[in-house]
Each structure stands twice: as C-alpha cells, then as structure tokens.
C-alpha cells in the first residue's frame, strides 16, 4: 500500500441553521481554505470526491450545485458518495492506491435545517416493515440505549457524564455548535425525549461542512511538515433489521478496527462518531480502547453534528492533533445508518 496522508483540513463553524447561505455558499469558503492551506494548486488535484445526501437537502442531485465550489473547469476527475464524507475519503484513498492519483480533495457537508431531521432519517429504514411506522432516529437510538443499559454496557448516569464531558471539552473548540454543559446531576433531572434518552444524550441538529486534502508519499512530506498518515482504514456493515442484531455491540466496528490495525500501537486520542451518548461505550468496547484513551476532545458529534460530514470531521480532528504535534497516533471512526449500522475506522499517525 502507498503511504497516504491528510495534509490539510478545514471546517465551518457549525450552527443549528445556516439560514443565510445555501449549500454551495456554505461549503465554498471551507474548500477555498483547505486548498490554500494544502499548497496544491486549485486546478491541480488529481481526484476530487464528496459526500452528501439528497434526502437531507430535500432535492435530487443536490451535490451538482456544490461542484461549483471546486472549480471543475477545466474538467476534473471526480466522484460522489451518498454517504458521510468519511467514505468519500475512503474512495479517494483507494484512488491514490491505484496509482491514478497522488493528491485528492475530499469534502462533505450537510444542512439538516431544511427538514425535520429525525423524521427525514426515518426514511432510512426498511421500506416494507419499518418505514411505514415512521420510526425517528431518536426512537431507534432509544431502543439501542435501552438494550445497552439492560446489558450493563452503560447507564443513564454514565451517559449524562459523557454528555457533560463532551460539551465541556467543546468549550475549547471554536467550531463547535454546543459548548459547556450543566452538571451531570442536573442533566439527570431533565425529561426524557424517548426513554431512556434525554435531550443531552442526542447530538444536536447541525448545518456545516468539512474538507480535507490527501497526498501520497513524498508529495505529502513536501507539502506538510507533519502529515497525518493513514496507516489503516477499513469499513464494514452490520445488518439492518434491529430484531436481527445485538444492539449492545458493534461487530462491524470490531472487524474494521482489526483490519485498520487499531491494536498495532498505543492510541492517544479517539474521535468517535457518537450520535448519542450510549454510542461511546459501545464503540470503546468494539474498538478495544482502554479507559485511559481520550475520546472526542473536540466535543465530538454531541457538540457539532453536521450530517454527512460528522464522520469526516472525526478524521479532521485527529489529523489536526497530529499536525500540531499534540499526538502521534489516533483513531477516527465514522458511522452511517441507524444504531451504528455502517462503520469506518481509520488509524492516523504522525511520523517520528
């Protein structure tokens, strides 16, 4: 495999509703910023890949308009995934592995504000047995949280602690949507949204986007003083039907973690795509992370959750800490579907 690294990142300030800008106006400054940071010429990327969702945007072919922001003229080698941008990064990484590209621009974005997000996400279920019931994303997550609590994987108190810790950490993240939190004891006094989930257990609804530049080998070294090398990356799916799954574990994360080589060295930081507080203990266990591993120092999705970008944002956060020299080895996780159905795991390392 070729050595491939994240050499530059950028993200929007994440907000509840970007009501002034449309998708292309929202993501354009981020793309411009990451290109300038990377040192790669605007028209010099060998490959471009993006991730977004028509259902989120509420219009078909919604990605076509945002192509304006990457200056696809003269024409470019480009593709798009109807998934989180973490999978766009995966496609770009594969493209570099084929030898057809040495550099790639990856971006993703989501405006959840136009629709009623939990209802929109109810459309992401089996059309025969589940979708007609309109189960919201929160309903499904609550079923999983209940199972996890009953199995002793977590508790409502532990979940409140995770919410508190994540949003307290986000106080140091200028891009976060939610910063700071009431004490866990106060959180526990709140009403349930869907028993056993309270509002603090749920990631916020967010508009935002992120962008990353990848480069291979010497090109990465030439353009970045401390590249964040992708040492391993893999993604796997679990089944869809909730009644056929053990919701208290995530076998697909464990497979992806093994393939990505998470256990091949110490993990100093983990950025996990925890859309709900109970995802953290499930993911910690599936990834084999010790209790000493710092999770989501950025605040994670509980502090900013731009759909279709929150997974790629995990890579950004780990890469930023490697770029700065703060850590040498970290793991980034992205998820898609309900109840952690589809999972991607990447191990990033700094050199030396």
């Amino acid at each position: 495999m070729r050595d491939v690294a994240i050499i530059a990142t950028a993200q929007t300030k994440h907000v509840r509703a970007a009501t002034a800008t449309n998708e292309v106006e929202m993501i354009q400054p981020v793309i411009q910023e990451v290109i300038e940071r990377s040192g790669v010429g605007r028209h010099d990327f060998d490959f471009t890949c993006s991730g977004s969702s028509d259902y989120l945007a509420g219009q078909p072919f919604s990605f076509v308009m945002t192509l304006d922001a990457v200056a696809a003229w003269p024409p470019i080698s480009e593709s798009h995934v109807e998934m989180d941008g973490a999978w766009a990064l995966y496609e770009a990484w594969v493209k570099i592995q084929t030898g057809h590209a040495d550099t790639a621009l990856v971006y993703s974005y989501g405006k959840s504000s136009p629709g009623d997000l939990p209802l929109v996400l109810s459309r992401m279920t089996d059309p025969y047995y589940e979708a007609p019931l309109w189960p919201t994303s929160i309903d499904i997550a609550a079923l999983q949280a209940r199972a996890a609590i009953q199995a002793g994987v977590t508790s409502e108190q532990a979940m409140a602690d995770i919410a508190y810790r994540s949003r307290s950490s986000a106080a140091a993240n200028p891009f976060a949507q939610l910063q700071n939190s009431a004490q866990p004891s106060a959180l526990m006094d709140e009403e349930y949204l869907a028993d056993p989930l309270r509002k603090h257990d749920c990631a916020p609804i967010t508009d935002g986007g992120v962008a990353i530049v990848l480069a291979a080998g010497d090109k990465a070294r030439a353009l970045c003083s401390r590249p964040a090398w992708i040492r391993g990356i893999d993604h796997r799916a679990d089944g869809h039907h909730l009644n056929l799954r053990d919701l208290t574990t995530s076998p697909s994360v464990s497979i992806a973690a093994e393939k990505a080589g998470v256990a091949n060295g110490p993990i100093e930081v983990a950025e996990l795509h925890t859309c709900f507080t109970h995802h953290e203990p499930i993911l910690r266990a599936a990834l084999g992370l010790g209790d000493d591993v710092e999770v989501n120092p950025s605040g994670g999705p509980l502090a900013a959750n731009p759909m279709m970008a929150a997974g790629l944002l995990r890579m950004v956060e780990v890469a930023n800490r490697i770029h700065s020299g703060e850590v040498s080895r970290g793991v980034a996780h992205a998820t898609g579907g309900h109840a952690l159905q589809h999972n991607l795991v990447a191990v990033l390392e700094g050199e030396g």
Binding site: A20, V24, E25, Q59, D68, P114, V120, P127
Partner: protein
C-alpha cells in the same frame, strides 16, 4: 422520457439463472397456499422542507421583484452569471460584483414542445428556448410566445414580458414569457460561445 411496456413477449427465453429466492415450503401453514402474493405495498410519505435560497439568490430575487435582472460577475474570467448562484463554477470563488442586465435577450437555441409540461394549459405546440439576456454570458431557459412556433430561429431578438407590477414577487415567475422585440436578428456567429 416515455413509459412503454413491451407489447410482445420476448422471442428469446431468458437464460436459466439462479432465481432470487428459493422455493419456500408452505405446507406447514396450509391456509397460506391459496393466498395471493402481495405485489406491491403503497406507503405514503410526506416531508416538509424549508429551503434557503442563499445569499446570491436572495440578492437576485429582491431585485427581480423590482423588475430588474441582475447577474453577478466571476472575478477571474469576467463572465456574468444569470441567475447568480453565489459561486463562479470556473474559479470556485464567490461572485460578489452585481451587474445590471437588460430586459431583452436573444434566442441561442430552442425546441418546440408538443406536450404540456407546464401544467397550465399552454397553447400546444409552444417554444422553450435558451435565451441569452443582454449583458449575461450564459443563457437561461424561457418560453417564447407572440410568434408562430415555426418562425422562431436562433438569433431572434426578444423582450421579456412581465406580470402586472402589482403582482411582482421574489420569483422567476415574474417573467411570464418572452416575445419578439422587433430588432434585427443577431448573426449566429455571435452566439457560438453561448451553447
């Protein structure tokens, strides 16, 4: 697109492949044997979205309400975009300079439509044209009326026909259609770069 079912069975048999489902033994539930297979499930779905027009489109729509057409210029190429969408697709950079355009334009190309796609009882056939608005560098689509359909040609000069002033809103629908303005045709050589 047309929607046509095959009128005859295929003359050639499909190859014998593995069918998507194995035979299911239903003898254990005898009464299922005579049940008709479900062929379709109809599930109504409705979602409501509040769309954001964006900065450039907002600027454009505010002015179209004043019966003005205002495009925006790509700083890098100097080309004027109508309608403006906020970003120049050639430079990838924001368009910020607004450019007041004319209310007349020129047919670049067109087609004659024999089905009512507008849903509001246009006369059939009608002409849908690519129209280069004076001052813009990219054509927009528009209806051409007040001229026999078979007399429309590239180069035909047009004026925009608007709704009554009292009916002006922040919408493209302010322009009802386009009609000949009587000026001489533009030579096709001058239109070559706009299609």
């Amino acid at each position: 697109m047309t929607d046509t079912t095959s009128n005859e069975p295929a003359p050639i048999e499909l190859p014998a492949g593995v069918w998507s489902q194995p035979e299911v033994d239903m003898t254990a539930v005898a009464e299922l044997g005579s049940v008709e297979a479900v062929q379709s499930v109809r599930a109504f779905a409705s979602l409501t979205y509040d769309y954001t027009p964006g900065l450039a489109t907002t600027r454009f729509l505010r002015l179209i309400q004043e019966k003005r057409l205002v495009g925006e210029r790509c700083e890098e190429t100097g080309k004027v975009y109508l309608p403006p969408r906020g970003v120049s697709p050639v430079s990838g950079l924001p368009t910020t300079e607004q450019v007041e355009l004319g209310l007349d334009g020129t047919v670049v190309s067109f087609c004659v439509v024999n089905l009512d796609f507008t849903g509001n009882a246009q006369e059939i056939p009608y002409v849908s044209a690519l129209i280069l608005v004076d001052g813009a560098d990219i054509p927009i689509y528009g209806l051409v009326r007040e001229i026999p359909y078979n007399e429309v040609q590239p180069g035909l000069r047009l004026k925009s026909v608007w709704v009554e002033d009292s009916e002006l809103t922040t919408s493209f629908e302010n322009i009802k259609w386009w009609a000949p303005n009587g000026e001489p045709d533009v030579p096709s050589s001058e239109l070559a770069d706009y299609i």
